[in-house]
Protein backbone atom coordinates (compact mmCIF):
# COMPACT_ATOMS: atom_id res chain seq x y z
CA UNK A 1 0.00 0.00 0.00
CA UNK A 2 2.81 2.34 0.94
CA UNK A 3 4.47 1.62 -2.37
CA UNK A 4 1.33 2.37 -4.36
CA UNK A 5 0.94 5.71 -2.61
CA UNK A 6 4.61 6.46 -3.22
CA UNK A 7 4.25 5.54 -6.87
CA UNK A 8 1.25 7.85 -7.27
CA UNK A 9 3.05 10.70 -5.50
CA UNK A 10 6.19 10.24 -7.58
CA UNK A 11 4.34 10.21 -10.89
CA UNK A 12 1.50 12.55 -10.03
CA UNK A 13 2.23 14.93 -12.91
CA UNK A 14 2.32 12.14 -15.48
CA UNK A 15 -0.84 10.59 -14.06
CA UNK A 16 -2.60 13.95 -14.06
CA UNK A 17 -1.46 14.46 -17.65
CA UNK A 18 -2.81 11.05 -18.67
CA UNK A 19 -6.14 11.77 -16.97
CA UNK A 20 -6.59 15.09 -18.80
CA UNK A 21 -5.40 13.48 -22.05
CA UNK A 22 -8.07 10.78 -21.76
CA UNK A 23 -10.75 13.44 -21.20
CA UNK A 24 -9.67 15.57 -24.16
CA UNK A 25 -9.24 12.64 -26.56
CA UNK A 26 -12.65 11.37 -25.48
CA UNK A 27 -14.17 14.75 -26.32
CA UNK A 28 -12.35 14.78 -29.67
CA UNK A 29 -13.63 11.36 -30.69
CA UNK A 30 -17.10 12.32 -29.57
CA UNK A 31 -17.01 15.43 -31.74
CA UNK A 32 -16.18 13.38 -34.83
CA UNK A 33 -19.44 11.48 -34.65
CA UNK A 34 -22.56 13.33 -35.74
CA UNK A 35 -24.78 14.90 -33.07
CA UNK A 36 -22.63 13.98 -30.12
CA UNK A 37 -20.85 17.11 -28.90
CA UNK A 38 -23.36 17.94 -26.21
CA UNK A 39 -20.97 19.51 -23.69
CA UNK A 40 -18.46 21.33 -25.84
CA UNK A 41 -20.45 23.66 -28.05
CA UNK A 42 -20.68 27.39 -28.51
CA UNK A 43 -24.47 27.58 -28.02
CA UNK A 44 -24.20 28.98 -24.51
CA UNK A 45 -24.71 32.46 -23.13
CA UNK A 46 -21.02 33.37 -22.69
CA UNK A 47 -19.60 32.39 -26.07
CA UNK A 48 -22.86 33.31 -27.80
CA UNK A 49 -22.83 36.71 -26.14
CA UNK A 50 -19.24 37.39 -27.18
CA UNK A 51 -19.87 36.34 -30.78
CA UNK A 52 -23.08 38.38 -30.85
CA UNK A 53 -21.28 41.54 -29.68
CA UNK A 54 -18.50 41.01 -32.21
CA UNK A 55 -21.00 40.34 -35.00
CA UNK A 56 -23.07 43.44 -34.20
CA UNK A 57 -19.95 45.44 -35.10
CA UNK A 58 -18.66 43.42 -38.04
CA UNK A 59 -22.05 43.07 -39.74
CA UNK A 60 -21.84 46.75 -40.74
CA UNK A 61 -18.98 45.96 -43.09
CA UNK A 62 -21.14 43.68 -45.23
CA UNK A 63 -24.32 45.76 -45.28
CA UNK A 64 -24.05 46.60 -48.95
CA UNK A 65 -23.50 43.08 -50.27
CA UNK A 66 -26.10 41.64 -47.88
CA UNK A 67 -28.68 44.18 -49.06
CA UNK A 68 -27.82 43.27 -52.62
CA UNK A 69 -28.37 39.57 -51.88
CA UNK A 70 -31.71 40.18 -50.16
CA UNK A 71 -32.81 42.46 -52.97
CA UNK A 72 -31.97 39.75 -55.51
CA UNK A 73 -34.02 37.23 -53.59
CA UNK A 74 -36.94 39.66 -53.31
CA UNK A 75 -36.83 40.19 -57.05
CA UNK A 76 -36.80 36.46 -57.68
CA UNK A 77 -39.75 35.88 -55.36
CA UNK A 78 -41.67 38.81 -56.88
CA UNK A 79 -41.12 37.33 -60.33
CA UNK A 80 -42.54 34.04 -59.07
CA UNK A 81 -45.63 35.74 -57.66
CA UNK A 82 -46.33 37.90 -60.72
CA UNK A 83 -45.91 35.00 -63.12
CA UNK A 84 -48.05 32.53 -61.19
CA UNK A 85 -51.72 32.14 -62.04
CA UNK A 86 -52.73 32.31 -58.39
CA UNK A 87 -51.75 35.97 -58.08
CA UNK A 88 -50.90 37.23 -54.65
CA UNK A 89 -52.45 34.24 -52.91
CA UNK A 90 -49.34 32.16 -53.47
CA UNK A 91 -47.55 33.37 -50.33
CA UNK A 92 -47.42 31.04 -47.35
CA UNK A 93 -49.27 32.34 -44.32
CA UNK A 94 -47.29 30.90 -41.43
CA UNK A 95 -49.75 32.14 -38.81
CA UNK A 96 -52.52 29.80 -39.89
CA UNK A 97 -52.59 26.15 -38.86
CA UNK A 98 -52.96 24.84 -42.35
CA UNK A 99 -49.37 25.20 -43.50
CA UNK A 100 -46.66 22.56 -43.52
CA UNK A 101 -43.59 24.76 -43.09
CA UNK A 102 -42.88 27.39 -40.48
CA UNK A 103 -40.06 29.80 -41.29
CA UNK A 104 -38.00 31.98 -38.93
CA UNK A 105 -35.35 34.50 -39.93
CA UNK A 106 -32.01 34.52 -38.11
CA UNK A 107 -28.53 36.01 -38.35
CA UNK A 108 -25.31 34.04 -38.45
CA UNK A 109 -23.08 35.41 -35.68
CA UNK A 110 -20.20 32.96 -36.10
CA UNK A 111 -19.21 31.62 -39.48
CA UNK A 112 -16.60 28.91 -40.03
CA UNK A 113 -15.41 27.21 -43.20
CA UNK A 114 -11.69 26.49 -42.85
CA UNK A 115 -12.01 23.42 -40.62
CA UNK A 116 -13.09 19.88 -41.50
CA UNK A 117 -16.13 19.92 -39.23
CA UNK A 118 -17.54 23.42 -39.43
CA UNK A 119 -20.23 24.56 -37.03
CA UNK A 120 -22.01 27.91 -37.28
CA UNK A 121 -23.83 29.86 -34.60
CA UNK A 122 -27.09 31.77 -35.09
CA UNK A 123 -28.82 34.28 -32.84
CA UNK A 124 -32.12 32.45 -32.36
CA UNK A 125 -32.79 29.83 -29.68
CA UNK A 126 -35.46 27.98 -27.76
CA UNK A 127 -37.18 31.31 -26.99
CA UNK A 128 -37.94 31.52 -30.72
CA UNK A 129 -39.05 27.86 -30.68
CA UNK A 130 -35.96 26.60 -32.49
CA UNK A 131 -35.29 22.89 -31.97
CA UNK A 132 -32.62 20.44 -33.09
CA UNK A 133 -32.79 19.03 -36.66
CA UNK A 134 -34.36 21.96 -38.46
CA UNK A 135 -33.15 23.03 -41.90
CA UNK A 136 -31.28 26.33 -42.35
CA UNK A 137 -31.18 28.02 -45.77
CA UNK A 138 -29.93 31.33 -47.13
CA UNK A 139 -31.33 33.36 -50.06
CA UNK A 140 -29.14 31.33 -52.42
CA UNK A 141 -29.29 27.78 -51.06
CA UNK A 142 -28.89 25.44 -48.15
CA UNK A 143 -26.61 26.16 -45.18
CA UNK A 144 -27.01 23.30 -42.71
CA UNK A 145 -29.03 21.67 -39.95
CA UNK A 146 -29.56 22.99 -36.41
CA UNK A 147 -28.00 21.00 -33.59
CA UNK A 148 -27.57 22.26 -30.01
CA UNK A 149 -29.85 24.98 -28.70
CA UNK A 150 -30.01 27.10 -25.58
CA UNK A 151 -32.44 29.87 -24.75
CA UNK A 152 -30.95 32.46 -27.13
CA UNK A 153 -28.48 30.74 -29.48
CA UNK A 154 -28.37 27.68 -31.71
CA UNK A 155 -25.43 25.89 -33.29
CA UNK A 156 -25.83 24.82 -36.91
CA UNK A 157 -23.95 21.90 -38.46
CA UNK A 158 -22.83 23.38 -41.76
CA UNK A 159 -23.00 21.48 -45.05
CA UNK A 160 -19.21 22.00 -44.93
CA UNK A 161 -18.96 19.33 -42.24
CA UNK A 162 -17.59 15.90 -43.07
CA UNK A 163 -20.12 14.21 -40.77
CA UNK A 164 -23.16 15.84 -42.37
CA UNK A 165 -25.29 13.98 -44.94
CA UNK A 166 -28.24 15.53 -46.77
CA UNK A 167 -30.50 13.96 -49.38
CA UNK A 168 -30.33 15.76 -52.74
CA UNK A 169 -31.55 15.18 -56.29
CA UNK A 170 -31.29 16.40 -59.86
CA UNK A 171 -33.73 19.21 -60.56
CA UNK A 172 -34.88 17.86 -63.93
CA UNK A 173 -35.46 14.24 -62.87
CA UNK A 174 -36.07 12.56 -59.55
CA UNK A 175 -32.77 10.65 -59.31
CA UNK A 176 -31.46 11.26 -55.82
CA UNK A 177 -28.26 10.76 -53.88
CA UNK A 178 -26.67 11.89 -50.65
CA UNK A 179 -24.71 15.09 -50.27
CA UNK A 180 -21.52 15.11 -48.20
CA UNK A 181 -18.29 17.10 -48.08
CA UNK A 182 -14.79 15.75 -48.55
CA UNK A 183 -13.20 18.65 -46.66
CA UNK A 184 -11.17 20.14 -49.50
CA UNK A 185 -12.76 23.29 -50.90
CA UNK A 186 -15.53 25.40 -49.31
CA UNK A 187 -16.95 26.02 -52.81
CA UNK A 188 -17.36 22.40 -53.94
CA UNK A 189 -19.44 19.68 -52.30
CA UNK A 190 -19.84 16.02 -53.27
CA UNK A 191 -23.00 14.20 -54.28
CA UNK A 192 -22.68 10.42 -54.14
CA UNK A 193 -24.92 7.41 -54.76
CA UNK A 194 -26.68 8.80 -57.84
CA UNK A 195 -27.84 5.88 -60.00
CA UNK A 196 -25.71 5.27 -63.09
CA UNK A 197 -28.67 5.60 -65.49
CA UNK A 198 -29.44 9.15 -64.38
CA UNK A 199 -29.20 11.58 -67.34
CA UNK A 200 -26.62 13.86 -65.72
CA UNK A 201 -24.79 16.68 -67.54
CA UNK A 202 -22.25 19.29 -66.48
CA UNK A 203 -24.19 22.40 -65.48
CA UNK A 204 -27.30 20.60 -64.20
CA UNK A 205 -28.96 22.09 -61.13
CA UNK A 206 -28.98 20.09 -57.88
CA UNK A 207 -31.74 20.71 -55.32
CA UNK A 208 -32.81 19.10 -52.06
CA UNK A 209 -35.00 16.06 -52.56
CA UNK A 210 -37.52 16.44 -49.75
CA UNK A 211 -37.01 12.78 -48.88
CA UNK A 212 -35.84 13.62 -45.39
CA UNK A 213 -38.31 15.65 -43.37
CA UNK A 214 -35.78 18.44 -42.71
CA UNK A 215 -35.66 20.39 -45.99
CA UNK A 216 -38.65 20.91 -48.30
CA UNK A 217 -38.24 19.69 -51.86
CA UNK A 218 -36.56 22.02 -54.33
CA UNK A 219 -34.27 24.16 -52.17
CA UNK A 220 -31.33 25.14 -54.39
CA UNK A 221 -27.90 23.63 -53.73
CA UNK A 222 -25.61 24.13 -56.73
CA UNK A 223 -24.67 23.09 -60.25
CA UNK A 224 -22.75 20.03 -61.47
CA UNK A 225 -19.05 20.76 -61.99
CA UNK A 226 -17.93 17.30 -63.09
CA UNK A 227 -18.86 13.68 -62.42
CA UNK A 228 -17.40 10.19 -62.64
CA UNK A 229 -18.44 6.62 -61.93
CA UNK A 230 -17.37 5.44 -58.47
CA UNK A 231 -15.47 2.26 -57.52
CA UNK A 232 -18.58 0.07 -57.36
CA UNK A 233 -19.38 1.08 -60.97
CA UNK A 234 -23.07 1.50 -60.15
CA UNK A 235 -23.24 5.07 -58.97
CA UNK A 236 -22.07 8.50 -60.03
CA UNK A 237 -19.81 10.64 -57.87
CA UNK A 238 -20.62 14.26 -58.64
CA UNK A 239 -18.77 17.46 -57.71
CA UNK A 240 -21.28 20.25 -57.13
CA UNK A 241 -20.40 23.97 -57.12
CA UNK A 242 -22.46 25.63 -54.40
CA UNK A 243 -24.66 28.61 -55.24
CA UNK A 244 -23.90 29.92 -51.76
CA UNK A 245 -20.64 31.63 -50.98
CA UNK A 246 -20.17 29.84 -47.64
CA UNK A 247 -17.40 32.27 -46.70
CA UNK A 248 -19.76 35.24 -46.68
CA UNK A 249 -23.05 34.57 -44.89
CA UNK A 250 -25.27 36.79 -42.82
CA UNK A 251 -29.05 36.42 -43.09
CA UNK A 252 -30.54 32.94 -43.04
CA UNK A 253 -33.97 31.32 -42.76
CA UNK A 254 -34.80 28.39 -40.48
CA UNK A 255 -37.42 25.98 -41.82
CA UNK A 256 -39.48 23.82 -39.52
CA UNK A 257 -41.55 21.02 -40.99
CA UNK A 258 -44.70 20.99 -38.85
CA UNK A 259 -45.66 17.52 -40.12
CA UNK A 260 -42.35 16.04 -38.98
CA UNK A 261 -43.86 14.13 -36.07
CA UNK A 262 -46.48 12.55 -38.31
CA UNK A 263 -43.89 11.54 -40.90
CA UNK A 264 -41.57 10.15 -38.23
CA UNK A 265 -44.41 8.15 -36.72
CA UNK A 266 -45.07 6.52 -40.08
CA UNK A 267 -41.44 5.85 -40.97
CA UNK A 268 -40.23 4.67 -37.56
CA UNK A 269 -43.28 3.11 -35.89
CA UNK A 270 -41.16 1.38 -33.24
CA UNK A 271 -39.51 4.47 -31.78
Amino acid sequence: MQQIVNFILRNKITLFFLLLLCISIGLTIQSHSYHKSKFINSANSITGGIYNTSNSVSSYFNLKSENQKLQEENTRLKALIFNSKLGTKSYIDTTSFDTQYKVTEARIIKNSYALQNNVLLINKGEKDSIKADLGVISPKGIIGITDNTNSKYTSVISILNTTNKISAQLKKTNHYGSLSWNGNSPKVIQLTDIQKNAPIRVGDTITTSGRSDIFPKGVLIGIVKDFKIDITENFFEVNVILFNDMTNLEHVTIIENLDKLLIDALLNPNE
Binding site: I40, N44, S112
Partner: protein, 168 residues
Protein backbone atom coordinates in the same frame (compact mmCIF):
# COMPACT_ATOMS: atom_id res chain seq x y z
CA UNK B 1 3.79 37.72 -6.94
CA UNK B 2 0.39 39.36 -7.06
CA UNK B 3 1.45 41.42 -10.02
CA UNK B 4 2.74 38.31 -11.79
CA UNK B 5 -0.56 36.50 -11.17
CA UNK B 6 -2.62 39.35 -12.60
CA UNK B 7 -0.38 39.57 -15.70
CA UNK B 8 -0.97 35.91 -16.45
CA UNK B 9 -4.70 36.14 -15.81
CA UNK B 10 -5.01 39.10 -18.15
CA UNK B 11 -2.84 37.35 -20.76
CA UNK B 12 -5.02 34.20 -20.50
CA UNK B 13 -8.24 36.12 -21.18
CA UNK B 14 -6.74 38.50 -23.75
CA UNK B 15 -5.23 35.66 -25.79
CA UNK B 16 -8.52 33.75 -25.85
CA UNK B 17 -10.44 36.80 -27.05
CA UNK B 18 -7.78 37.72 -29.62
CA UNK B 19 -7.68 34.17 -30.96
CA UNK B 20 -11.44 33.78 -31.21
CA UNK B 21 -12.38 37.20 -32.52
CA UNK B 22 -9.36 38.05 -34.66
CA UNK B 23 -6.95 35.26 -35.52
CA UNK B 24 -9.59 32.60 -36.28
CA UNK B 25 -11.08 34.87 -38.94
CA UNK B 26 -7.94 35.62 -40.92
CA UNK B 27 -8.29 32.59 -43.27
CA UNK B 28 -5.21 33.55 -45.27
CA UNK B 29 -5.27 31.69 -48.64
CA UNK B 30 -8.63 30.27 -47.59
CA UNK B 31 -7.61 28.12 -44.65
CA UNK B 32 -4.42 29.29 -42.89
CA UNK B 33 -5.03 30.66 -39.42
CA UNK B 34 -2.34 31.39 -36.83
CA UNK B 35 -2.84 29.96 -33.35
CA UNK B 36 -1.34 32.69 -31.23
CA UNK B 37 -3.01 31.56 -27.99
CA UNK B 38 -0.16 29.09 -27.40
CA UNK B 39 1.88 32.16 -26.34
CA UNK B 40 0.36 31.51 -22.92
CA UNK B 41 2.15 28.15 -22.79
CA UNK B 42 5.33 29.61 -24.24
CA UNK B 43 5.54 32.46 -21.73
CA UNK B 44 4.32 30.67 -18.58
CA UNK B 45 6.91 31.02 -15.75
CA UNK B 46 9.37 28.15 -15.62
CA UNK B 47 9.46 27.88 -11.83
CA UNK B 48 5.75 27.46 -11.34
CA UNK B 49 3.70 24.49 -10.17
CA UNK B 50 3.62 21.86 -12.94
CA UNK B 51 0.18 20.44 -12.08
CA UNK B 52 -1.31 23.91 -12.21
CA UNK B 53 0.44 24.58 -15.52
CA UNK B 54 -0.96 21.38 -17.08
CA UNK B 55 -4.44 22.19 -15.81
CA UNK B 56 -4.35 25.80 -17.06
CA UNK B 57 -3.16 24.67 -20.50
CA UNK B 58 -5.95 22.11 -20.66
CA UNK B 59 -8.46 24.78 -19.63
CA UNK B 60 -7.13 27.20 -22.25
CA UNK B 61 -7.55 24.62 -25.00
CA UNK B 62 -10.99 23.62 -23.76
CA UNK B 63 -12.25 27.23 -23.78
CA UNK B 64 -10.96 27.71 -27.33
CA UNK B 65 -12.70 24.41 -28.22
CA UNK B 66 -16.01 25.65 -26.82
CA UNK B 67 -15.71 28.78 -28.96
CA UNK B 68 -14.76 26.85 -32.09
CA UNK B 69 -17.17 23.90 -31.58
CA UNK B 70 -14.24 21.56 -32.14
CA UNK B 71 -14.68 18.90 -29.44
CA UNK B 72 -11.39 18.40 -27.58
CA UNK B 73 -8.88 19.10 -30.34
CA UNK B 74 -7.32 22.24 -28.91
CA UNK B 75 -7.41 20.84 -25.38
CA UNK B 76 -5.41 17.75 -26.43
CA UNK B 77 -2.90 19.81 -28.41
CA UNK B 78 -2.27 22.37 -25.66
CA UNK B 79 -2.08 19.67 -22.99
CA UNK B 80 0.57 17.67 -24.84
CA UNK B 81 2.49 20.86 -25.65
CA UNK B 82 2.48 21.83 -21.98
CA UNK B 83 3.61 18.34 -20.97
CA UNK B 84 6.64 18.32 -23.27
CA UNK B 85 7.62 21.91 -22.48
CA UNK B 86 10.23 21.00 -19.80
CA UNK B 87 12.03 18.80 -22.33
CA UNK B 88 11.91 21.53 -24.98
CA UNK B 89 13.20 24.09 -22.45
CA UNK B 90 16.12 21.83 -21.60
CA UNK B 91 16.89 21.28 -25.29
CA UNK B 92 16.71 24.95 -26.28
CA UNK B 93 18.31 26.68 -23.29
CA UNK B 94 20.46 23.96 -21.70
CA UNK B 95 22.31 25.12 -18.58
CA UNK B 96 20.32 28.33 -18.02
CA UNK B 97 17.17 26.31 -17.57
CA UNK B 98 18.89 23.91 -15.14
CA UNK B 99 19.69 26.80 -12.83
CA UNK B 100 16.12 28.05 -13.00
CA UNK B 101 17.33 31.55 -13.81
CA UNK B 102 15.53 31.81 -17.13
CA UNK B 103 13.90 35.13 -18.03
CA UNK B 104 12.08 35.27 -21.33
CA UNK B 105 12.92 38.95 -21.75
CA UNK B 106 16.69 38.54 -21.98
CA UNK B 107 17.34 35.36 -23.93
CA UNK B 108 19.24 34.85 -27.11
CA UNK B 109 17.18 35.38 -30.28
CA UNK B 110 18.24 32.07 -31.87
CA UNK B 111 17.36 30.14 -28.73
CA UNK B 112 13.99 31.86 -28.60
CA UNK B 113 13.20 30.86 -32.18
CA UNK B 114 14.20 27.23 -31.53
CA UNK B 115 12.02 27.13 -28.43
CA UNK B 116 8.95 28.70 -30.07
CA UNK B 117 9.32 26.60 -33.24
CA UNK B 118 9.51 23.28 -31.38
CA UNK B 119 6.43 24.02 -29.25
CA UNK B 120 4.43 25.40 -32.20
CA UNK B 121 5.17 22.49 -34.52
CA UNK B 122 4.26 19.95 -31.82
CA UNK B 123 1.01 21.76 -31.14
CA UNK B 124 0.09 22.10 -34.81
CA UNK B 125 0.87 18.48 -35.75
CA UNK B 126 -1.39 17.19 -32.95
CA UNK B 127 -4.04 19.78 -33.70
CA UNK B 128 -4.29 19.05 -37.42
CA UNK B 129 -4.04 15.27 -37.15
CA UNK B 130 -6.93 15.31 -34.68
CA UNK B 131 -8.92 17.85 -36.69
CA UNK B 132 -8.62 15.99 -39.99
CA UNK B 133 -8.68 12.60 -38.23
CA UNK B 134 -8.08 10.61 -41.40
CA UNK B 135 -4.89 8.72 -42.21
CA UNK B 136 -5.50 8.91 -45.96
CA UNK B 137 -5.18 12.71 -45.80
CA UNK B 138 -1.75 12.79 -44.17
CA UNK B 139 -0.43 15.15 -46.85
CA UNK B 140 -3.14 17.65 -45.95
CA UNK B 141 -2.15 17.36 -42.26
CA UNK B 142 1.51 18.08 -43.04
CA UNK B 143 0.67 20.89 -45.44
CA UNK B 144 -1.62 22.61 -42.93
CA UNK B 145 0.94 22.11 -40.16
CA UNK B 146 3.72 23.66 -42.24
CA UNK B 147 1.84 26.76 -43.40
CA UNK B 148 0.05 27.49 -40.13
CA UNK B 149 3.26 26.92 -38.15
CA UNK B 150 5.15 29.50 -40.22
CA UNK B 151 2.36 32.01 -39.67
CA UNK B 152 2.12 31.28 -35.93
CA UNK B 153 5.89 31.39 -35.37
CA UNK B 154 6.26 34.74 -37.12
CA UNK B 155 3.40 36.27 -35.12
CA UNK B 156 4.62 34.79 -31.80
CA UNK B 157 8.17 36.08 -32.31
CA UNK B 158 6.83 39.50 -33.30
CA UNK B 159 4.51 39.74 -30.32
CA UNK B 160 7.15 38.61 -27.79
CA UNK B 161 9.69 41.04 -29.28
CA UNK B 162 7.30 43.98 -29.25
CA UNK B 163 6.12 43.41 -25.69
CA UNK B 164 9.48 42.48 -24.13
CA UNK B 165 11.10 45.88 -24.70
CA UNK B 166 8.42 47.56 -22.64
CA UNK B 167 8.81 45.56 -19.44
CA UNK B 168 12.11 45.76 -17.49
Amino acid sequence: MNNLLSIHTIRFIALILLQVLLFNNINFMGYINPMVYILFIILFPVKNNKTLFLFLSFLLGLIIDIFMDSGGINATATLVTAFIRPAVLKFSFGAVYEHQALKFNNIDFGQKITYITLLTVTHHIIYFSLEIFNTSKIILVLQNTLFSSIFTIILCVLITTIFSTKSK
